[in-house]
């Protein structure tokens, strides 16, 4: 009985729900001769079903893949100029410049 006020107070102070938003992320790194990308959302949601495209500098789509349940993908980088486009829908897309892939 004596613990009830303390438990209630702790619940009141810590039980508030912060505003949730799903900001996308896509982290790519070089691994041997391939590029491995891991994607998802800031609220912990996976990127399963979202698309990853390798796009040439002229805008031509060189390859298009979809993330699986583990939210990772790997691909061989093309020889010419390109960038990576993570596309989970309008407003939920990201460009990854090859210079940022290390």
């Amino acid at each position: 009985m004596t613990r009830a006020p303390i438990v209630g107070l702790v619940a009141a102070l810590t039980g508030t729900t912060p505003a949730l938003a799903d900001y996308p992320f896509c982290l790519c790194r070089k691994q041997a001769d391939a590029i491995v990308c891991r994607a998802g959302f800031s609220d912990g949601e996976t990127a399963e079903g979202a698309a990853l495209e390798v796009v040439a500098d002229d805008g031509t789509t060189l390859s298009r893949m979809r993330f699986g349940a583990d939210s990772t993908l790997s691909f061989k980088p093309p020889t010419g100029g390109y960038y990576v486009l993570f596309d989970a829908g309008p407003g939920l897309s990201l460009e990854i410049d090859p210079r940022d892939i290390r």
Partner: protein, 170 residues
């Protein structure tokens, strides 16, 4: 030593009563934040100004004056608010914001969400962003037309530029 009524265990009651007062200290900030997010105190804490994108115009503001907020793996996010004006209210289907020039409409950045009179978007500050970066706005009309404009990030969000400078020093 002062003897509390109720015996030796009485101190627990007083500690609990004191703890109940703690949230009161946070109340002004909490209600200020509610007013800010609800639009009761205007578009945002800092109005950037009226921007023209082709035939459309809109007012842009920083929601708050603070630096970007780290949103887990998505990294630092800065929130901007937007109010479409005039013809844009009916004609603009979607508004996007991005730090750095988008390569295509598909990567135009964060999508503003909300009513045309007050929309909000959390814009990612990428690793490569610097004080010389630009904030790009892209409007997509219901007729499919696209209009873009950019402004220096230093004008859009001085606090973000200061935060980026601090990040580079670390």
């Amino acid at each position: 030593m002062i003897a509390l009524p109720g015996g030796r265990r009485r101190w627990r009651f007083h500690v609990c009563a004191l703890m109940l007062l703690v949230p009161i200290g946070f109340a002004p900030g909490y209600f200020q934040r509610l007013d800010l997010e609800g639009g009761a105190v205007g578009l945002g804490e800092r109005e950037i100004g009226v921007l023209r994108l082709g035939r459309w115009k809109a007012r842009l503001a920083e929601l708050d004056l603070g630096p970007p907020v780290i949103e887990g793996a998505a990294g630092p996010i800065k929130t901007f608010t937007l109010a479409l004006e005039g013809a844009a209210i009916d004609e603009v289907r979607a508004a996007y914001a991005k730090i750095g020039e988008p390569r295509s409409i598909r990567s135009a950045g964060a999508l503003f969400a909300g009513a045309p009179y007050r929309q909000m978007a959390g814009v990612a500050a990428p690793e490569t962003a610097t004080g010389d970066s630009e904030l790009w706005l892209t409007f997509e009309g219901w007729d499919g037309s696209i209009e873009q404009t950019s402004l220096p990030l230093a004008d859009a969000s001085p606090s973000t530029v200061a935060w980026l400078a601090g990040r580079r020093r670390r």
